[in-house]
């Protein structure tokens, strides 16, 4: 390991920032892949791997990728929910790799909702 200079601390922090923002739970965007049995059967795992690869490719530091249970719309799986900080969540349905890529670049990275794949905006009310 080479000796480091004060300015290298910043470089290390940047390299690590994705790891750390994940732990802080503080991110600009959160993508939830719905992984019920139905979702997995419909190919949600492929969607998850695609998203993981995309975040890695883009070196996207402030994106949280998480799994959650069945969203209740089994017939239209695989589904994801994209939530940008301060905005209403958007659910996308019947996804494949190509659609996922488009959502990632248009919505997650650039902030434009891909309406043609979107199911609805917002979430159910809790309680």
């Amino acid at each position: 390991m080479p000796k480091i200079k004060p300015e290298d601390l910043k470089k290390i922090r940047e390299q690590m920032s994705r790891t750390m923002s994940l732990r802080d739970g503080d991110a600009r965007a959160k993508i939830t892949v719905h992984m019920g049995t139905c979702g997995i059967a419909a190919g949600a795992r492929t969607i998850m791997s695609t998203l993981l690869a995309l975040t890695e490719e883009e070196q996207a530091k402030d994106i949280i990728l998480t799994a959650s249970g069945c969203a209740g719309l089994c017939s239209r799986e695989p589904m994801i929910t994209v939530e940008l900080k301060g905005q209403a969540p958007v659910k996308y349905v019947e996804l494949d790799e190509e659609k996922t890529k488009k959502i990632f670049s248009d919505h997650v990275l650039s902030g434009t909702v891909v309406e043609e794949y979107a199911l609805a905006m917002g979430s159910e009310r809790l309680g």
């Binding site: 390991m1 922090r13 690590m16 920032s17 750390m20 732990r23 975040t55 949280i64 799994a67």
Partner: protein
């Protein structure tokens, strides 16, 4: 680190490790692999999370879901449900004592959300064995600042202004100590990290090192630079192998990065840090004994002055600080004295780490702002007393601390307030006692420890504590006599006045404070030959209530002395001359028919 989507922060503090967290890690990794999730979910072993009572614990990031009391068998289900399908598993979550539903998020759990982390700022957030993770959370930026942007005098001034006081017991102002060490004459100077942690039941220093060794190292490097020391030493309790191992790794990594050793950050400043294993006696933690032990001599305290800052290791100026004191330093340099001094009370700034143990639901390690009340610690964080028992007292400050009664539960905790009520901050031990605790027995217990641990150099400490202990034993055995209390009080003064070090000077605290607040219990033992809490065996008898006894024979079957007689379905009796008062009958009776008088 790879771009995982989830980090499982699994506690690898000593408590959780002894409950199997490494086995859980293996199972987790195996199960993740089974579902091909090993590249999505990372398992990170962290230092002590603090909620030791519920161990092994894990926190799932970024969701912040807190799982507890894990066993190997839970993992298959957990991986499939939470990590594959994204459904957090309720039955592994924590349910607070007074509630019915589990609380999924760590940040919503009372035990955690009243805490304020400075010394433990990275606990559970990083893998303590990875220097890059420490750096990622602003590690070593304070060092860069102290070395490149501040003069040693400015560093000392900042620490002085912050109001930081020693966390090892005496509460001496840290900046002032550094100033004295800097001013002291000497070619070579030393700094020491006191990690001897001899107080029974205390484990904050161990936890800090286990969960964040670099925070201690960074504090030491900053301190060494401020003082002008080129040798650093960590004197660590021999019973802390995990902490020592992490420290050795941390020193190696910091040295590889050029943060230790020669020409640190290219500033020409050199510091070597070595590790010394403690010699095992309580008194080794006292600073002058520690120096003796470090030099290879028997750990006996010596007269001060000269203080170690003038003449310490090999007669060179030596600045000794406690682990927690050092761990506070980088954050003060980073965030400024003003920020730090805004936390706490008039005389005591910042936070204090306490190990909360005894008759409290949530035992564990907590860091709280100075000035928090005992009530908040015992009830809000500690979750109250188990089994609906009454709270009786808290003992603070380790073996030579005092017992604080219920009437003082709203006392805001700081160095001065604790001293006023006859206790001490000490290193932060906090033992909660319930109504079943006999306060005379408590005093006897602590004096027994101190009697054994007195190094024997000062007559008053060696003989005085022994005599006091003898009197307490006599009282507990039912042979107390009039004048015992007064004799204890007189001896307390003598031992305090004529002992060299704080071991003797504080040893009478448990006795003085229990006499002060629980004198009636002493009197009951001495005059009425009774132990109100039902603890002292010589003073209690177990009897069976004829009306409640159903004659189930359970007590008779369990009695090791065969002292219980009676026909099936008829009330039983205890033959007192055979009874050894082990209490088994009391514990096993399902009808509440056995009582202690």
């Amino acid at each position: 680190m790879e771009p995982y989507r989830t980090h499982v922060m699994l506690c690898a503090g000593t408590g959780c490790v002894s409950n199997g967290s490494f086995r859980i890690k293996e199972t987790l990794e195996r199960e993740l692999k089974k579902h091909n999730l090993q590249n999505e979910v990372a398992v990170v072993m962290t230092g002590c999370n603090g909620f030791c009572a519920q161990g092994p614990v894990m926190v799932v990031k970024p969701d912040d879901i807190f799982y507890q009391l894990l066993t190997d068998d839970d993992i298959t289900h957990l991986v499939e449900e939470h990590f594959l399908k994204g459904r957090p598993v309720q039955k592994l979550m924590y349910t607070p004592p007074a509630e019915e539903l589990p609380v999924p998020k760590m940040s919503d759990i009372g035990f955690f959300n009243k805490q304020r982390l400075i010394a433990l700022r990275n606990r559970g957030m990083i893998d303590p064995e990875q220097i890059d993770e420490y750096i990622a959370r602003d590690g070593y930026t304070a060092l860069a600042k102290a070395l490149n942007e501040m003069t040693p005098e400015q560093v000392i001034e900042e620490i002085k202004l912050s109001g930081l006081r020693g966390r090892g017991g005496a509460g001496f102002p840290t900046g002032r100590k550094w100033e004295l060490a800097r001013a002291a004459k000497g070619e070579t100077k030393h700094i020491v990290c006191n990690a001897d942690e001899g107080d029974p039941g205390a484990f904050m220093d161990r936890s800090i090192i286990e969960s964040d060794p670099h925070s201690v190292l960074e504090g030491m490097i900053i301190g060494a630079r401020a003082i002008g020391a080129s040798y650093g030493h960590v004197y660590i309790r021999n019973e802390y192998p995990l902490a020592r191992e992490r420290l050795i790794k941390a020193i190696k990594q910091a040295t590889d990065y050029g943060l230790l050793g020669k020409d640190i950050f290219g500033t020409g400043f050199d510091l070597d840090v070595s590790i010394h294993r403690g010699a095992g006696a309580f008194v080794c933690g006292e600073e002058t004994s520690l120096i003796a032990s470090l030099e290879g001599r028997a750990p006996e305290p010596r007269i001060r002055p000269p203080f170690p800052v003038e003449s310490g290791i090999w007669d060179a100026p030596t600045n000794i600080n406690n682990v927690e004191t050092w761990a506070n330093v980088p954050d003060i340099i980073n965030r400024g004295a003003k920020w730090f001094s805004a936390i706490g009370t008039e005389t005591s700034k910042g936070t204090k780490v306490f190990s909360v143990v005894g008759k409290v639901k949530n035992t564990g390690l907590v860091e709280v702002p100075m000035g928090i009340t005992l009530r908040e610690i015992v009830y809000d964080i500690g979750g109250g007393i188990p089994g609906d028992k009454e709270f009786k007292a808290v003992q603070t400050g380790g073996p030579s601390g005092g017992c604080i009664p219920q009437s003082l539960l709203d006392l805001p905790i700081d160095y001065e307030k604790l001293a006023e009520v006859g206790s001490i901050m000490g290193s932060g031990g906090l033992i909660v006692m319930d109504e079943d605790t006999c306060m005379v027995d408590v005093a006897r217990y602590f004096l027994e420890f101190l009697k054994d641990e007195s190094c024997g150099k000062c007559t008053a400490c060696r003989e005085g504590i022994d005599v006091m202990h003898g009197i307490l034993v006599r009282i507990c055995e039912g042979n107390g006599k009039e004048g015992d209390i007064e004799m204890l009080e007189e001896l307390s003064e003598a031992v305090k006045d004529s002992s060299l070090c704080a071991l003797g000077r504080t040893a009478p605290n448990p006795v003085i404070s229990t006499i002060r607040y629980f004198r009636d219990e002493y009197e009951a033992h001495i005059n009425d030959k009774s132990c109100p809490a039902g603890v002292c065996k010589a003073l209690i008898t177990y009897v069976i209530n004829e009306e409640k006894c159903k004659g189930c024979r359970l007590c008779a079957k369990n009695c090791p002395q065969e002292a219980i007689t009676g026909e099936v379905k008829m009330p039983h009796t205890i033959e007192q001359d055979k009874c050894i008062k082990c209490g088994v009958c009391f514990d096993v009776c399902k009808f509440d028919a056995v009582s202690v008088t």
